[in-house]
Amino acid sequence: MTAKKSTRNTFEDNLRRLEQIVESLEQGSVPLDKAVDLYEEGIRLSRACADRLKEAELRIKKLSKNLDGQFQLNDPDKE
């Protein structure tokens, strides 16, 4: 479960990274060329996050019961 999380929980990771970037840019201790790189990375991350948030449709799936009476997820994209 943990391994699965790390590969897909990108929004939270992106936001964490973005926070780090903003913080180090605010402190102003990074060299300018590095700051410019960080800035570009930050803008990219913030766009990725915003795009993710702007997905408009709530996706709803349902567990169903199989023949053994066990819940299962009818999910074609399940790995």
């Binding site: 840019l25 800035y39 997905e55």
Partner: protein, 400 residues
């Protein structure tokens, strides 16, 4: 075919039952537990009285409700006095309660307290075991009835606050026999699939019996064992269930659970926008600071020091050059003067200079004759004047 005289209409039978029942139980005291207590807007009170074996509908008219010394709640054990009445249009009977008094905590309530105590002793409510909720869940598992108000409430809150999430519903019965097992199964199934980041387990409000599955041990243990954080959302604000105590977070209602589980998208987008501004400002400010530093460095004393040194050296060089050429011309001048003076002196010493003053040189055989005795008569000599030489012949001896 039965004898027509013995065939009763429904109404006639019901009338006889009504007469029979109402006259047999004109006034009885009964003891039981209150449930499904509902206050109608008219002020009448409808409820069920029950015990382990049976239940009976009850009604209490407004005028008598006002006389009650307590506020009837689900789960309370009471003694009530009333008469049995039959309501023909529905074909049911009920007790028309005139007077009622509480008898302490009802059986379910006792069971609840006993289980709560037991699980608390086992550490199932230990705050240290509670898992933090993920800040940005992408998948939310919901364990509730497919047809209840709870799922609708949850979906509408999620759609408003964070429509980018995925909701997986495990449709379960949330009341009645077998409901607790289904709820526990669903929690376990979600943990097996490992897919949701957080679970909401609950249902809308109801009587103590309706909510009972969430007070069952099997549900409590499934929630406790869940590796996925669980938010309980059982009933309305005031109802606490065992599930609430064991869950990682208790929400007062299903809507509140949805609110607690996701952040507000609009707020997050604002935060992102502010972060972009902050980054932009920081970088521009940083560039400006550096530019300023550069400017002040360029105009600083130390930075200009090497240039000054060069300038000073050039100046010094120029000065040296000037003084050198001055000295040189002075030297030249005095050399010239000395040379001129020497020239004059030299000239004064030269025989030619003497000649100019009227002396003459006499040469004989190319040697200068400096004595009269060096010449014999008949010798040929040459007399050199300053402006030329004339030949001469010696005629006789000189006299000293």
């Amino acid at each position: 075919m039965p004898d027509d005289a013995k065939v009763l209409t429904v109404t006639e039978l019901t009338r006889r039952i009504k007469f029979s029942l109402e006259s047999s139980f004109p006034r009885v005291w009964i003891q039981g537990e209150l449930s499904n207590v509902k206050r109608h807007t008219s002020g009448h009170l409808y409820f069920t009285l029950k015990d382990a074996g049976a239940q009976i509908s009850a009604v209490m008219w407004r005028s008598r409700v006002g006389m009650l010394p307590f506020s009837p709640e689900d789960g309370m054990n009471v003694q009530a006095r009333g008469s049995i009445t039959v309501y023909p249009p529905r074909g049911n009977y009920q007790i028309d309660v005139e007077q009622m008094q509480p008898l302490g905590i009802g059986e379910l309530q006792l069971a609840f307290e006993r289980l709560k105590q037991k699980l608390a002793d086992e550490g199932l409510f230990d705050p240290a075991h509670k898992k933090p909720l993920p800040e940005f869940p992408e998948r939310i598992g919901v364990v509730t009835s497919e047809t209840g108000a709870a799922i609708q409430d949850i979906l509408s809150v999620l759609a408003r606050r964070m429509p980018s999430v995925e909701v997986i519903l495990a449709p379960v019965r949330v009341q009645g026999a077998g409901a607790a097992e289904e709820i526990a199964d669903a929690v376990e199934a979600f943990n097996r699939s490992g897919r949701p980041d957080v679970l909401i387990v609950g249902r809308g409000g109801g009587s103590l019996e309706d909510l009972w599955p969430f007070n069952e041990e099997i549900v409590a243990r499934a929630i406790y064992a869940s590796r996925i954080p669980v938010v309980s959302a059982v009933g309305h604000e005031i109802d606490f269930s065992i599930a609430d105590f064991v869950a990682d977070l208790r929400a007062p209602t299903p809507s509140a659970a949805a609110e607690l589980v996701v952040r507000d998208r609009t707020e997050l987008l604002d935060t992102l926008r502010n972060m972009c501004y902050t980054m932009h400002d920081s970088v521009t400010a940083r560039a400006e600071t550096l530019r300023e530093r550069m400017r002040s460095l360029v105009s600083s004393y130390s930075f200009n020091r090497p240039r000054d040194v060069v300038r000073e050296s050039i100046q010094r060089l120029d000065e040296l050059d000037r003084s050198l050429s001055r000295s040189f011309s002075r030297l030249q001048e005095s050399a010239h003067q000395r040379q001129e003076a020497l020239g004059h002196r030299l000239e004064a010493l030269s025989p030619r200079g003497v000649l100019k003053r009227g002396y003459a040189l006499v040469r004989h055989d190319d040697r200068i004759v400096s004595s009269a005795r060096a010449l014999e008569p008949g010798d040929r000599a040459a007399i050199e004047f300053s402006d030329g030489t004339v030949p001469a012949r010696i005629e006789r001896d000189g006299t000293p």
